[in-house]
């Protein structure tokens, strides 16, 4: 497993898988590409081809995550690029976008190139660094966006994730500036004044628990403003981890106006609600916070009708001590890579809201398109890069964070029974996961 140039040494014949959940068809993988799909695949396979039995498995294009925290450099105790990439592969991902809130912050060409190289060396997953919008995420002055775009990391997504670019003028300038290299600003929409000291979704549960509330309007107001700004200056805007019903409605409205806005939702916001905070276990502490059942419902609808373009994990590893503490002192964030597809199946497929072709769009094609990531999110067809996820939708598992490839264990699904299991992942023809095991 290493460089893309070395890939494709072995031929693989994937037998019996169902591309996008359709009729079973063999897939021949050769020299990093899909050589054939369907009856011709077996015929074309050379003698030394290794057979991968995948009867009944769903074959999807390798998943693409627009929103991953790999923690390196700075917090290698929580995750490294290497461990995060293994975790991604186990989740069926072949490319992840590494968020900029590292230490040092990914706000210069030097840092993004370092992260990109670490990803390339890992070999388990392509790593596309996200550049910071402002220097040090401080929200005051633009970082050298052009230098990051021109670096070998070819940064196209810029975000101060974790912090909101709340200054409207700065946001306007960032939106305008990235047009020069077809970049996109991925906004973490959170009005800082409305969320001072906020601990969880503001509502019945927060009022009862005495935790400072995080009103939905703090997210929605910023999204509305940014959509109008993007429309005004003719730029692309991407909205990170949409979490409220109102946000979905605003984005739907903005798209109808013709605003070039895209949006993502996390798996946890598709499933979990704020009443889980009842026991004050910070495993459920996340930013944006878990919301209500009505929000979850609206987010599922929004993802189904395309208002929300894609699923992004916001995989946020934290060491145990950051969670084994009082709620107010605990870190925000939860693991997501190794459970994302299962949660999407549970919330969107098993509920009849999405079919597998649409899952391929929301988890692979759309994020690749938004990130301007070539070579990923492509159809499962001859001549395309062999980035493939094999998924056993009929499997069932009890989530055990200790068994995950991530260095951290802060999964909110611990002990939960979830459907499905990734059994194989191919990155440009090389298996990163086979038989459900990391390679």
């Amino acid at each position: 497993m290493s460089d893309e140039n070395e890939s494709g040494g072995t031929e693989y014949l994937i037998r019996g898988a169902r591309p996008l959940g359709g009729e079973p068809a063999d897939i021949l993988v050769r020299a990093g590409e899909i050589a054939a799909v369907g009856p011709r695949a077996a015929a074309e396979a050379g003698a030394p081809a290794r057979t991968v039995q995948a009867d009944g498995m769903i074959a999807l294009p390798g998943l693409v995550d627009l929103h991953t925290h790999l923690r390196e450099p700075g917090r290698e105790d929580a995750e490294t690029v290497a461990s995060g990439c293994r975790s991604a592969a186990m989740g069926g991902f072949t490319a992840v976008h590494a968020m900029a809130n590292t230490d040092p912050v990914a706000d210069t060409a030097g840092v993004v190139e370092q992260v990109w190289r670490l990803g390339r060396d890992s070999g388990h997953c392509d790593v596309r660094p996200v550049g910071a919008v402002t220097r040090g995420l401080a929200g005051e002055r633009l970082a050298e966006l052009g230098a990051m775009a021109d670096s070998v990391a070819r940064v196209r997504v810029f975000s101060d994730d974790g912090m909101c670019v709340s200054d409207p003028l700065l946001m306007r300038r960032a939106l305008e500036y990235v047009k020069a290299f077809d970049g996109v600003v991925a906004q973490h929409a959170q009005d800082p004044r409305l969320t001072q000291g906020a601990q969880m979704n503001e509502g019945e549960v927060s009022d009862r628990l005495g935790l400072a509330g995080w009103p939905a309007v703090a997210e929605e107001a910023v999204i509305a403003r940014d959509c109008l700004l993007a429309e005004h200056v003719g730029s692309r805007l991407h909205v990170c981890h949409v979490s409220t019903k109102g946000s979905v409605e605003i984005i739907r409205w903005a798209k109808q106006r013709g605003c070039d806005v895209t949006a993502e939702v996390t798996p946890h916001h598709l499933l979990l609600t704020d009443d889980l905070v009842e026991g004050y276990d910070p495993i459920y502490k996340v930013n944006p916070p878990l919301r209500t059942a009505a929000d979850v419902h609206a987010l599922r609808e929004g993802l189904a009708d395309g208002t929300i373009d894609c699923v992004a994990t916001d995989h946020a590893p934290h060491p145990i001590e950051a969670k084994e503490t009082e709620w107010a002192n605990a870190a925000m964030g939860m693991l997501g890579l190794e459970t994302a597809l299962s949660v999407v199946q549970h919330t969107m497929v098993d509920t009849g809201l999405l079919d597998w072709a649409a899952v391929a769009d929301r988890m692979s094609a759309a994020p690749a398109r938004i990130g301007r990531l070539t070579g990923h999110g492509r159809p499962l067809a001859a001549g395309e890069p062999a980035n493939i996820a094999l998924y056993d939708a009929s499997a069932e598992r009890v989530v055990d964070p200790a068994a995950m490839e991530s260095k951290s264990t802060n999964s909110p699904y611990r002990g939960m029974r979830l459907p499905g299991r990734v059994t194989g992942t191919f990155l440009r023809g090389v298996p990163t996961v086979l038989d459900g095991k990391i390679q």
């Binding site: 927060s206 009022d207 009862r208 005495g210 004050y280 503490t325 709620w327 107010a328």
Partner: protein
């Protein structure tokens, strides 16, 4: 093990059991030997992350009157100040064999977290802006002592409800005990979902006072005006402070309560605070009895008789 973390943990019968037990134990305070052997050999730790001499000494006295060994563990000058986590502190107390842990902490839910880490019973002595169950119990005890009933009692709770753990615990407990609670505050100082709480809400103190048997004033920090909760301390005091003129609007038998510490001149005027119908010092005395009752019912038997499992 069972704990007292929230007044929501208490059913009607459990709450009455605590109040009745406290009534019996109140006699101890009037005897020459103010001590019972009941908790001999048991260890109670007072774990206080916030300064609160009043609450800590009340719990300390309660535990000592029951003959428990009491350890005071305050955040200042201890390993806590050196950065020890709540969990490590909990494991330390566990290793010392604490049967009961009384915890005061600035973070909502800290008592819940602690309860997951120690084997002993945890008593929440105030966690952030969440709850302060023994304060509500002593308030209910004082109301019953002064008015003879709780069912149907009309109680106004006035002030910074949003940040008040006393208000949260009182609303839940008084509802359980059949009292009718009305919260009175500027709209900025009530939670957004207060409509789901088992109580009424009013923004007009003058309208509520004549219809109340009990008026409980909450402390209001003048610094709140810096966060735009109200314009000035003077305006707050004018609209929501209990002064002599407003006191005159109350029924003749209605009482004034305050969990302390009072800010005289802000939410309550000195002459009201010193009136014989103000129960502030009585609340302090009753606090010891109620805390004795809670400690006895949690630690006195083979297993606790009250609280959340």
């Amino acid at each position: 093990m069972r704990h007292l973390l929230s007044t929501a943990d208490l059913g009607h019968d459990e709450a009455v059991l605590i109040l009745d037990t406290a009534r019996e134990l109140a006699q101890i305070g009037e005897r020459s030997v103010k001590k019972l052997p009941t908790l001999r050999g048991r260890t109670v730790v007072n774990l206080f992350y916030e300064d609160s001499t009043r609450t800590r000494t009340s719990f300390e006295l309660a535990a000592k009157r029951l003959s428990a060994d009491v350890i005071n563990f305050s955040a200042k000058g201890s390993s806590v100040a050196k950065g020890e986590s709540l969990k490590d502190t909990a494991l330390t107390l566990q290793a010392m064999g604490a049967d009961g842990v009384v915890v005061r902490h600035g973070a909502s839910g800290a008592a819940h977290r602690l309860a997951g880490w120690v084997d002993g019973s945890v008593v929440n002595a105030g966690d952030g802006t969440h709850e302060h169950p023994t304060q509500a119990l002593l308030d209910a005890y004082t109301m019953r002592e002064r008015t003879g009933r709780l069912a149907g009692l009309r109680v106004a709770i006035v002030g910074d409800v949003l940040h008040s753990r006393v208000a949260r615990s009182n609303v839940l407990l008084l509802h359980t005990l059949g009292a009718e609670v009305t919260l009175v505050a500027p709209p900025t100082l009530v939670p957004v979902s207060v409509g789901t709480w088992p109580c009424q809400v009013s923004y007009d103190l003058d309208e509520v006072l004549p219809k109340s048997d009990v008026v409980m004033m909450l402390r209001v920090q003048a610094e709140r005006m810096n966060e735009a909760f109200f314009p000035t301390a003077r305006e707050y005091s004018r609209r929501y402070g209990l002064d002599r003129d407003r006191f005159a609007l109350m029924g003749e038998d209605a009482i004034v309560m305050h969990p302390g510490p009072m800010v005289r001149g802000m939410e309550i005027s000195a002459e009201v605070a010193d009136s014989p119908r103000a129960t502030v010092t009585r609340q302090v005395a009753n606090g010891v009895s109620v805390r004795m009752a809670v400690l006895y019912l949690l630690l006195g038997g083979s297993e606790p008789a009250i609280g959340q499992r």
